[in-house]
Amino acid sequence: MRYKKIITDFFILMALTTNISFIVSPNPYELVITVAANLAATILKIGEGRVLSTEMLASSLVADLHLIPALFIFFMGDSHEAVGLAQGALAANIISVIISIIETVLSAFTEEED
């Protein structure tokens, strides 16, 4: 069992699910957890040398750059704008999950061939 992959995938999915839940019902705790999960996913992707991993890091950074301003905007009182930014981050997170699935499938094939 690859624990590193479990932890990375956990945070990638967590970022996506909390992001959706914040959009559905905007809540300060939800937003902070979303940002935290996204940042953790970004950190875990640093230093992965594969081609798809760099794509994943890029999409994660995009999500962070949407969510961090959303966090400050939300607590300054403009929740509508914050939700808009979180929706942008959601698109990046969906791409991140798709890339993660593709990478898993590809690595499964490589393992089989080896």
Binding site: Y29, A40, I43, I46, G47, E48, L71, F75
Partner: protein, 381 residues
């Protein structure tokens, strides 16, 4: 069935891994070095998240102040209890635990992150990657394998002549001298590796100097380079050899010319002994020949068949006035050197004009004469 076999063969071929480029190896090493950042960053991130969420729960969702309180607590700034709820019993218990864990995490993480960033490896790797990218842009340059005192002198002369070059040296101690001598492009890897020579731009280079202080290593580099650039006319390899015999072997294996340093030095010294009476002129020619006299140069220009210069007298073309260069001798096609030329001397087909002048004027003369010849030939066609 044969189709299936072919398919499998193609697949196998496609799967065959190509040799990674040096820049790719460095990039991979750089990414691996960055991976060390993950644990300290995650530790710091966890401490900040736990602290912020804890204070948010205590204050009823005040994010900005909770984040600020976490920072001043784990960063040991301690401005006071700035967030609502932190001055309660639960708040103080939480702050105590956060301080106990967070301060250690914060200081450790920051120290580790700073150390990773300023570690020599990362900076060296980053510089090497940037340098390799710049080398990829070079064309018509020279590659100098091995860096010792001789290579340092060579580098100085090449720099004076504004000729770009890449030094390859596998001794890490030489790195200090390369930096001290302001060598623009260098690679600290074994020069006989194919990937290293390719990264030094051997495919686009004009020539190479092999000076590795060891005949066997010199031969290894010459052979590898010649396999990559087989033509002796398109890619020049100059090497050092310890004996005449080795020099001969090197030339057979692919070097255009192999020098025996001691012999070379003795010959040059002997030239001074033989010309003690005319020291200035022999020294001048010597310096021009060895590229030390950057103000004056000699150019050899072959008169091709059909050139407009054929049949003309030297006084008719008057290069001295029109292009500010002087023809000092003419080498005949049979190799004989005519040094008694005058204005009445006629240029013949196949002659090689030995022209003397300032490098800028020589370059201009070469361009003008070649262009003119080209134009005449085109008109004839």
């Amino acid at each position: 069935m044969p189709r299936l076999k072919l398919k499998r063969k193609i697949k196998r071929r496609l799967r065959k891994k190509r040799e990674p480029k040096l820049i790719e190896i460095y990039q991979r090493r750089f990414i691996e070095a960055l991976r060390e950042l993950r644990i300290p960053l995650l530790m710091l991130h966890t401490a900040l998240t736990v602290g912020t969420l804890g204070y948010m729960l205590l204050s009823g969702g005040d994010f900005i102040n909770s984040f600020y309180m976490t920072i001043i607590t784990i960063g040991t700034i301690g401005y006071g209890e700035v967030v609502a709820g932190s001055d309660t019993v639960y708040g103080r218990i939480f702050t105590s635990f956060l301080s106990l864990l967070g301060i250690g995490v914060f200081t450790t993480s920051v120290t580790v992150i700073v150390r990773i960033f300023f570690k020599e490896d990362i900076i060296t790797l980053y510089r090497a990657i940037r340098m390799l990218r710049e080398i990829e842009e070079l064309e018509g340059h020279f590659i100098v394998c091995g860096y010792d005192k001789t290579s340092a002198w060579l580098a100085q002369t090449l720099k004076k002549r504004k000729i770009e070059f890449v030094v390859i040296e596998d001794n890490p101690e030489a790195l200090k001298y390369l930096q001290e001598h302001n060598i623009k492009y260098f690679i600290t890897e074994e020069p006989y590796k194919r990937s290293v020579l390719l990264s030094a731009g051997i495919k686009r280079a004009k020539g190479m100097v092999v000076n590795l202080r060891d005949d066997a290593r010199n031969i290894a580099v010459i052979v590898t380079a010649r396999l990559l650039r087989p033509s002796k006319e398109e890619f020049y390899i100059y090497s050092f050899a310890s004996t005449d015999g080795t020099a001969e072997k090197m030339e057979e294996l692919g070097a255009n010319k192999a020098f025996v340093p001691n012999k070379l030095l003795a010959t040059r010294l002997a030239a001074y002994i033989f010309h003690t009476g005319s020291a200035f002129i022999s020294d001048l020619f010597d310096r021009i020949a060895f590229g030390e006299e950057t103000d004056i140069d000699i150019l050899e220009l072959r008169v091709e068949p059909g050139s407009p210069l054929v049949g003309k007298k030297l006084k008719e073309i008057d290069l001295r006035r029109s292009l500010k260069v002087t023809i000092i001798a003419i080498r005949k096609p049979d190799g004989e050197l005519d040094i008694t030329i005058s204005g009445e001397t006629t240029i013949e087909e196949g002659d090689t004009l030995i022209i003397f002048g300032r490098p800028k004027n020589l370059r201009r003369a070469q361009k003008v004469l070649l262009e003119e010849a080209h134009k005449v030939l085109e008109d004839k066609a």
